[in-house]
């Protein structure tokens, strides 16, 4: 009965790992953003394959049905990844704002110089 969910979890983890690898290989995912993904996928694969470890862990945190512990860990990993992305987005926004400001200042400076050149010559 529980073997089915074990196989399913393993399959999901392996597919996830393969997709991540494929995305990195095709340059669609930068390595620095893939580390958390790889870590999460590996964790899921290891815990679903290694029954004993999962059971020990779930007893430790007080979960009586080991597969739920696996889900809990999966959700936790997802949250960490989402948080990491929000940090990344905040940085990107900050950098974008600075770029927009610098660009606008440069454009106005160029326009000013052009005007001066036209009236000077």
């Amino acid at each position: 009965m529980q073997i089915r969910i074990q196989i399913l979890a393993m399959a999901i983890g392996v597919v996830l790992l393969m997709s991540i690898f494929q995305l990195i290989r095709k340059n669609r995912l930068m390595e620095q953003y893939s580390l958390l993904w790889i870590g999460s996928a590996l964790l899921i694969v290891v815990l679903s394959a290694w029954r004993g470890l999962l059971e020990k862990m779930s007893r430790l945190i007080g979960i009586y049905y080991p597969p739920s512990a696996l889900f809990a860990i999966g959700i936790f990993c997802g949250m960490i990844i989402a948080l990491h992305f929000t940090v990344v987005i905040s940085n990107l926004t900050k950098e974008k704002n600075t770029l927009v400001q610098e660009l606008a200042l440069l454009k106005s400076e160029v326009a000013e110089l052009k005007k001066r050149m036209d009236s000077g010559s």
Binding site: N97, V100, Q101, E102, L103, A104, L105, K107, S108, E112
Partner: protein, 238 residues
């Protein structure tokens, strides 16, 4: 020896203000002091840039909308880049009265502070605000005063004058949206001195406020969160 006259700059952030901007620019230019005008067009969809430029202002047009904080900060960067001694921030919607700029400039010299805020609430005249906003304004007054140990009556006023030191600091550290109340704390906690002078303000004639009724609650929550977090931040090295 004659003192070198100070270089003044008026920073006018404007978003979709094509009807009001021309008069605002003209009013500032008509002041009996030597003051340059830069209009920061915050990615307007209308002809704000054209109208400002026609009125004789220098225009910096942001290619995308950054929000009032991002626009004003662009003005600070402009001021630092062009080595202005003092910059005055004036709203592009005609709410601030150009003649009152002189009061800010005069107070900056007289008090010797880094920042002077034009306050609607120190004087008795002019347009104050709607009742709902008064509640928010009072909350800011209470919490900001508590946080910095100085009573600032008009934390949401965007009518302010800054000296060079404050401009250099703000050009690197300025909140992107709803910056006014937060920047009061940011400035004070980083060692800048603030003063307030009474000014009269008008009710806006064109356009819409950057804070609609719908956004009011979000505004308050965002700013209070920012202020609260600021209290725990390390001091930013200017």
């Amino acid at each position: 020896m004659e003192k070198i006259p100070k270089k003044y700059l008026a920073i006018i952030p404007a978003y979709n203000e094509q009807d009001a901007i021309k008069q605002v620019v003209k009013d500032v230019q008509a002041l009996p002091v030597n003051i340059d005008v830069v209009v920061i067009d915050d990615g307007s969809a209308d002809n704000t840039s054209g109208a400002a430029s026609a009125a004789g202002a220098c225009v910096v047009r942001l290619p995308v909308n950054l929000g009032i904080g991002g626009a004003v900060q662009t003005g600070f960067k402009y001021a630092v880049k062009h080595r202005y001694d003092v910059a005055v921030q004036v709203d592009g919607d005609g709410q601030h009265i150009a003649a009152e700029i002189l009061k800010l400039l005069e107070a900056l010299t007289r008090h010797g502070t880094d920042v002077v805020i034009g306050s609607r609430f120190l004087g008795s005249e002019g347009f104050k605000s709607s009742r709902a906003r008064q509640v928010g304004i009072n909350l800011f007054r209470f919490f900001n005063s508590l946080a910095i140990g100085q009573k600032i009556t008009d934390n949401t006023s965007g009518f302010r004058a800054y000296n060079r030191a404050a401009l250099e600091f703000l050009s690197e550290n300025y909140p992107c949206d709803y910056p006014e109340p937060e920047s009061v704390i940011l400035l004070k906690r980083n060692g800048f001195s603030l003063a307030e002078v009474p000014v009269t303000m008008r009710e806006r004639e064109h356009g819409a406020s950057s804070i609609s009724a719908f956004n009011g609650a979000y505004y308050m929550i965002k700013v209070f969160l920012a202020i609260f977090v600021d209290l725990f931040k390390e001091k930013t090295a200017a």
